[in-house]
């Protein structure tokens, strides 16, 4: 039966979950499931996986903006139909992978992709800068301090040569989150671009009690900066600005406490995090640059600083060293020296675990 807006329960289907995982898998994947023996990256962006059965699956990885239109998806489909029997996938970092089971179609696919301007850059494998995991920014969210897509585009344009090559000492994972909620999970990235506010929320006293649950707002503040307060007629709150660190959690709970501010907001850069357990253990990203103003449309200072970090790393690290491993070897004093980034008060932690970050040894480099 067709959808009837006046009878939602009619013929309603719920809780069916997603299609089973193998619904859209190409036959070669189903046949060689669990039998893959080894792989090789033939060239940046092109992988071959070889099965115990002898089967070979070629995957061609192309960068994508992630914020993509249905037209672009249709373009992708057109390519996949031509060379991949209609099969493709998306990676955990929002790249597209064309899955080629017929070796003869590999080169034509690559040629086709290259012929399409900047829509389908091939790369992102091995020791590269792959796609930037990112979030909504001004495109859709209500709490961002920065845009997401525009910053990502600007940075990737500048780092493009590192996307299409394997020139770096190890993989470099960049992530962006437009506010401290960190939907991009930037807290464990080689380089993290984070939107930050720097002005405490204002309080719209005449709205607070109407649109918010005051006790939840108070509980939301990590530093207990918020107290209930009566302002004239209104039940409202007051904020101790000295205790505010601009996390925006109160705004999440209460629309009457906006923090966004064109002058106040901008970017903090973080470095040296990682997720994998390979050689070294997962690590958090650490503060590199406390603040760079929002510079739309192309955020030149952010872009150049990220580039400087990547290139200083590329010049100084040993093969297999992730950015965090490199810094751990050379020391933070050298990181700041070599990148020319100034070390400031903001770099010194002053939250709950701060004391675990202080230097409790005489071991350091002059």
């Amino acid at each position: 039966m067709a959808f009837d807006p006046n009878n939602l329960l009619q013929d309603r289907i719920t809780d069916i979950g997603p299609p089973k995982y193998d619904t859209f898998m190409p036959p070669i994947v189903k046949e060689n499931w669990g039998k893959w023996k080894y792989h090789e990256i033939i060239q940046p962006g092109v992988l071959v996986h070889v099965s115990e059965t002898g089967a070979e699956l070629f995957s061609v990885r192309v960068g994508a903006a992630r914020l993509i239109s249905t037209d672009l998806i249709r373009d992708i489909c057109e390519v996949a139909d031509k060379y991949c029997d209609g099969y493709l996938r998306f990676t955990t970092r929002n790249n597209v992978e064309f899955l080629v089971s017929d070796k003869n179609k590999l080169q034509p696919l690559l040629d086709d992709l290259k012929s399409r301007g900047n829509w389908f850059p091939i790369g992102g494998t091995g020791h590269s800068v792959t796609n930037i995991v990112h979030t909504q920014g001004w495109a859709h969210c209500h709490t961002p301090a920065i845009d997401a897509s525009g910053v990502v585009k600007s940075v990737m344009d500048e780092l493009f040569e590192y996307f299409v090559s394997h020139k770096l000492p190890a993989q470099v994972r960049i992530a962006l989150a437009c506010c401290l909620n960190m939907c991009g999970a930037v807290h464990c990235s080689d380089i993290a671009i984070l939107g930050v506010h720097r002005k405490p929320p204002f309080i719209e006293h005449d709205r607070v009690a109407n649109v918010c649950e005051i006790p939840l707002v108070i509980a939301a503040c990590p530093t207990a900066a918020i107290k209930p307060k009566k302002v004239g007629e209104y039940k409202s709150v007051e904020i101790n600005n000295n205790r505010c660190m601009f996390c925006g959690n109160c705004y999440t709970m209460c629309p009457a406490l906006p923090l966004a501010d064109g002058e106040g907001d901008g970017i903090a850069l973080w470095v040296g995090g990682k997720v994998s357990n390979v050689i070294s253990q997962p690590m958090f990203s650490k503060l590199a640059v406390p603040f760079i103003p929002n510079e739309p449309p192309r955020w030149p200072t952010t872009v150049q600083t990220v580039k400087k970090i990547v290139e200083t790393y590329a010049a100084g690290a040993r093969r297999y060293e992730r950015i965090g491993d490199w810094i751990n070897r050379i020391g933070w004093e050298r990181f700041f020296e070599r990148t020319g980034i100034e070390f400031k008060h903001e770099h010194i932690d002053d939250y709950r675990l701060a004391m675990t970050t202080w230097r409790t040894t005489t071991q350091f480099k002059f």
């Binding site: 893959w36 090789e40 914020l67 091995g126 845009d147 585009k153 600007s154």
Partner: protein, 424 residues
């Protein structure tokens, strides 16, 4: 094809080698008024350096407590076609395999009922359909369930859409069947995914090995990571082939020229536990010291393979900074076999959720609850035995909450008796 708004700033983002979302959306704008207004709104955000979306409104589909993010523009008078611009999160097929048929049909539907804009995919893993109006929510849901065999993903204080790495589907290292696990959990816990029953959000992610290609350890309340507990399989001849320069080291990840692998400096010396030896002919691994970090395997994928007694390490508690600071997940089950129907794992999950639902405060992530109550309480509630593998180091602070049950007489004392021995 002149658009309604000038976008001089956005136009700058059409330059350069990386794909341009601006060019893409402009192309759509010709046929989709929502895209046209969205571009205008974005341009204004670029001018103001401030976003122009209102604080989220609560909208959704009947009977579900999540899956839709309500969104309204704060200048509807200027941009009426994005006045409502709600996101629908559609649960992706595990590991995001598609065929062109399903994608084309989804596009057709979304052109018809939404903005034509998407995120492929959201950070959690969903297909994110970006921007529609309230009246379209139910019809989209109806089409998804009826015509696509698809369903909404999670949002709010729900189970969130689980996701895994590509695993055994295309990776030779996967020690667990990530797709099957993710699918099974998603299906088993549909109710939790669609109806808020938790203190806050809850995420599962599964990676097939310690490379953790879905970043489970950093962003899942429960991280399932494949591993093995027997020995790394070694093909000594292939090792010699790497050393001899016949095979490309690291599968070409740092260049596909053939070169002799310097096995000592590139493998042995980088092994975090230094549990390998190379005598010029044979590679010896002291597996009892191996922490299964994957380094040697990734450098010589044609010579080394994970063991055969495979399963998963279960870790819990990862989350972003809000409220009590970011956390990585911590080991709570060093090893567990992961075979359908995953009964042992689900028993664990349910004990963990029971604890969290009972003790968790509003908006307290599992990791924060454990921080607050202590790992000890968590282990007790989940009937897990303390194990040194759960900590990087035993405690160094001496503030031990000794259990009165282990103390003779418990907390009871006899003051009179004490004072008979000790004058005040």
């Amino acid at each position: 094809m002149a658009l309604k708004f000038k976008t001089p700033m956005l136009d700058e983002l059409e330059k350069g080698p990386w794909p341009s979302f601006v060019t893409d959306v402009k192309r759509m704008a010709a046929k989709k008024p929502a895209c046209e207004d969205w571009l205008g709104l974005m341009e204004m955000s670029y001018e103001h350096k401030e976003g122009h979306w209102k604080h989220g409104g609560i909208v959704g589909v009947f009977g579900y407590g999540g899956g839709v993010i309500g969104r309204y523009c704060d200048r509807p008078e200027l941009f009426p076609n994005v006045a409502h611009f709600h996101t629908m999160r559609v649960n992706q097929p595990a590991s995001k395999f598609y065929n062109t048929d399903i994608l084309r049909r989804l596009c057709e539907m979304w052109d018809r009922r939404g903005s034509g804009l998407t995120n492929m995919h959201g950070s959690t893993g969903d297909i994110v359909l970006l921007g529609t109006t309230t009246d379209q929510l139910e019809p989209v849901f109806y089409e998804l369930t009826h015509d696509f065999g698809m369903d909404l993903g999670g949002s709010g204080s729900n189970l969130r859409t689980p996701e895994g790495c590509i695993g055994k589907a295309r990776c030779e290292w996967s020690c667990i069947d990530t797709q099957a696990i993710i699918y099974d959990l998603t299906m088993e816990y549909q109710d939790a995914l669609h109806r808020p029953m938790f203190p806050y959000k809850f995420k599962f992610k599964a990676s097939g090995c310690a490379c953790d290609c879905v970043a489970a350890i950093a962003r899942a309340d429960c991280s399932i990571i494949g591993t093995w507990r027997d020995n790394i399989r070694i093909d000594q001849e292939a090792v010699r082939a790497y050393v001899g320069g016949e095979l490309v080291p690291h599968a070409g990840a740092h260049g596909s020229e053939k070169r002799k692998l310097d096995i000592q400096t590139e493998v042995i010396d980088l092994c975090p536990t230094r549990c390998m030896e190379w005598d010029g002919k044979n590679l010896k691994i002291w597996d009892e010291d191996c922490t299964r970090c994957m380094h040697c395997i990734r450098i010589m994928p044609r010579a080394l393979r994970p063991g055969l007694d495979t399963g998963a390490t279960i870790l819990v508690g990862a989350k972003a900074p809000i409220l009590e600071g970011a956390q990585l997940s911590s080991v709570v089950i060093p090893f567990m076999k992961m075979e359908p129907p995953y009964g042992e794992f689900k028993e664990f999950v349910e004990k963990m959720w029971d604890l969290w639902m009972e003790e968790g405060k509003n908006r307290e992530r599992l990791g924060e609850l454990i921080q607050r109550m202590g790992l000890r309480e968590f282990l007790k509630a989940c009937e897990l035995t303390p194990d040194p593998r759960m900590v990087n180091t035993p405690r160094f602070n001496p503030y031990i909450f000794y259990d009165p049950a282990e103390v003779p007489g418990g907390w009871e004392r006899d003051l009179k008796d004490f004072r008979s021995r000790h004058q005040a």
